[in-house]
């Protein structure tokens, strides 16, 4: 009884990452969504290599190819898998490039909003008191307006531009992160490991960033995933309304806006295929986000 404990028995335990992967793959739908999302990311990342045509190079466009049906052959003999738009631009190439822009804006806006919102939420939980109350009332105010309204007003004031769209999305979204992080940080702050860190006289920034933040991360990852989808949808909406991306950066929303006037004349594909790409992207991200939430939530796991 009083002998020192023997060497630990080798615990055969899968690494946390592997266990996580196995739990994630337990749902076929989520697995399919993850594969689809990976394919979409791949396509967006390597759009310039994958697309048959450079949609930005006007010299390669032939006005004689305009509004060709999906699968039709152009004047130069090239086949247009998804048809062409008014300018004779290959839609597949335009969608791949548009995907790149949409995803880029969505991810960028989410990352910035997450960083800003997380720091605000942590500060709010750590300092508490009036600072906390003030910040949370700002968050309430922010969340009480519909996101699209706030973004519309902001862009109407700021004008067009990729940076301005990202800024508008960040302003619309940071409050979600701030509130979520504050919630988990408040719960974690009173745990004994934080007291232990205090007892070791560690500086406050270290306790917050090295101990508090990592333990608040799981819900944050879930929210960030779903918010990427929201950001993409919001950006597409704004672009469709003509307030979002400039015409020089044709995102999926702009492509849809570009073709919807033709919709009733039977040339459905100019809007339809970019719309499908947008829906698939958003659905894939949401499904992956849902499964992440289920796997990362300790209350749901056995």
């Amino acid at each position: 009884m009083s002998t020192p404990p023997p060497a630990l028995p080798a615990i055969v335990e899968a690494s946390p990452l592997r266990r996580f992967a196995a739990e994630f793959a337990a749902s076929r739908v989520a697995l399919g969504a993850a594969v689809l999302l990976a394919a979409i990311l791949f396509a967006a990342l390597f759009a310039p290599l994958l697309s048959p045509q450079d949609p930005y190079d006007l010299a390669t466009l032939d006005i004689m190819d305009s509004k060709l049906e999906p699968g039709a052959r152009g004047a130069a003999g090239a086949r247009f898998l998804l048809g062409t738009d008014e300018q004779g631009r290959d839609l597949l190439s335009a969608i791949l490039h548009g995907l790149r822009i949409s995803l880029g804006v969505g991810v960028m806006a989410t990352l910035v909003a997450m960083a800003f919102g997380t720091l605000t939420g942590l500060a709010s939980a750590w300092f508490g008191g009036r600072f906390d109350a003030l910040l949370m009332r700002i968050v309430d105010l922010q969340l009480s307006f519909p996101a699209i309204l706030v973004a519309l007003v902001l862009l109407a004031v700021l004008g067009q531009g990729v940076d301005k769209v990202v800024l508008a999305l960040v302003i619309v979204q940071w409050a979600y992160y701030a509130r979520t992080v504050r919630g988990s940080a408040l719960a974690e702050r009173n745990r004994e490991y934080i007291e232990a860190a205090r007892c070791l006289a560690l500086p406050a920034w270290r306790i917050v960033l090295r101990h508090l933040l990592p333990n608040c991360l799981p819900p944050l990852i879930v929210i960030a995933t779903v918010q990427v989808a929201h950001a993409i949808a919001l950006e597409a909406t704004l672009s469709f309304l003509g307030l979002g991306m400039p015409i020089t950066s044709p995102s999926l929303g702009l492509l849809i806006a570009n073709g919807y006037t033709q919709l009733l004349s039977g040339k459905y594909w100019i809007s339809f295929f970019p719309g499908i790409a947008l829906v698939l992207t958003i659905v894939a991200i949401n499904l992956v986000g849902d499964q992440l939430r289920d796997v990362l939530n300790p209350r749901l796991s056995r």
Partner: protein, 343 residues
């Protein structure tokens, strides 16, 4: 059991850690709505818990002081104040006779490291997202007590010191058993070379055989490193086994202080007597079990005068009015009871 190197004679020397007139309240001030209601004639009181109420405490170097009392009496709050985690609302904390709060920053941090705390729930006290070696070496690295190259050596020696196999240092806290987690917590404290360990119910969550191992570890470390202990427990058996001196706490106040053997042989304060009567022993098997009469009063509304008087079998009219002071009743012994004035 052992008399220990320090006894009442050490009280003349400057204590290692001294708490003077410590007071700590918990509660929130009235919010705006309540203040407006009060303006309009309502009578809403702020709910304030007097967790620790003018406590004096001195720990001599090398001494093991046990602090006992029922749950909710303020033991843990006092422990956190002693360990420097909580600021006392009022009162002073002195390290070797010098107020900690008045020290320059670098010195204050060095002093805080000299006092380390061992927590009741070892698992909760370990950051679940850090591996054992990072847990143990974080503070020494952050305070530049060691260089990065010395990390492995420090972790290995410290883990061996507490009876853990250093080969497990890359594991996560959740991969250990309860006793092993306790040892990790102790290793983390030892890594910053403390002189005083504040143990807050450090073995209460462990099962009995593991308790004995960890208690023996504490005593071995005391001999090897010359540590001083403030050992907080509701378990008088543990305290009797470990402590040189015992403090009994009731509703935020210390009611009796005495060397362990004397306290267990002849308790002075009625509350101490009642507590001791509750300790089950084999010899008592036939006696009818008599718990302390009544409930522990709500700390939100402690009784006036002596906090113990509603439950005390010897209560006098004076007890309900005047709080007894902690006075010397014999050399090295103090008690806070009006009965001592009567005799």
């Amino acid at each position: 059991m052992s008399a220990g190197p320090a006894s009442s004679s050490a009280a003349q020397a400057v204590p290692l850690l001294e708490l003077r007139g410590i007071e700590r309240r918990f509660g929130r001030p009235l919010d705006l709505a309540a203040r407006i209601a009060n303006r309009l004639g309502a009578d809403i009181d702020a709910q304030v818990v007097h967790a620790v109420d003018s406590v004096d405490l001195a720990l001599a170097t090398g001494e093991v002081v046990g602090l006992a009392g029922e749950s909710g009496c303020g033991k843990s709050t006092l422990a956190r104040i002693a360990a420097g985690i909580l600021e006392p609302g009022r009162g002073e904390r002195l390290w070797q006779g010098r107020p900690v709060a008045a020290m320059p920053r670098a010195e204050r941090i060095a002093t805080e490291l000299k006092v380390q705390m061992i927590f009741q729930d070892a698992f909760a006290s370990l950051d679940p997202r850090m591996r054992v070696d990072d847990l143990v070496a974080e503070a020494p690295l952050a305070h530049r007590l060691i260089r990065r190259a010395e990390k492995d050596a420090l972790v290995d020696t410290t883990l061996r010191q507490v009876g853990l196999d250093p080969s497990a240092k890359r594991r996560w806290p959740h991969q250990f058993s309860g006793g092993q987690r306790s040892r990790i917590g102790i290793a983390r404290a030892l890594a910053v070379r403390p002189e005083l360990l504040v143990c807050d119910e450090a073995v209460a969550a462990l099962d009995v055989s593991i308790q004995a191992q960890v208690l023996n570890l504490f005593m071995r470390l005391r001999d090897e490193l010359g540590l001083t202990y403030l050992f907080i427990s509701h378990d008088l058996g543990v305290i009797r086994h470990l402590a040189d001196r015992v403090l009994i706490m009731y509703l935020g106040r210390i009611v009796e202080s005495a060397p362990t053997a004397e306290l267990f042989a002849a308790p002075n304060h009625p509350y101490t007597r009642a507590l001791l009567a509750e300790v089950p022993t084999l010899a008592q098997r036939r006696r009818s079990y008599q718990p302390v009469r009544g409930e522990i009063p709500s700390p939100l509304a402690p009784p006036p005068g002596c906090h113990f008087h509603p439950r005390c079998p010897h209560a006098m009219p004076r007890c309900a009015v005047e709080a007894p002071a902690l006075k010397a009743v014999a050399p090295g012994r103090q008690s806070a009871c009006h009965l001592n004035d009567a005799t």
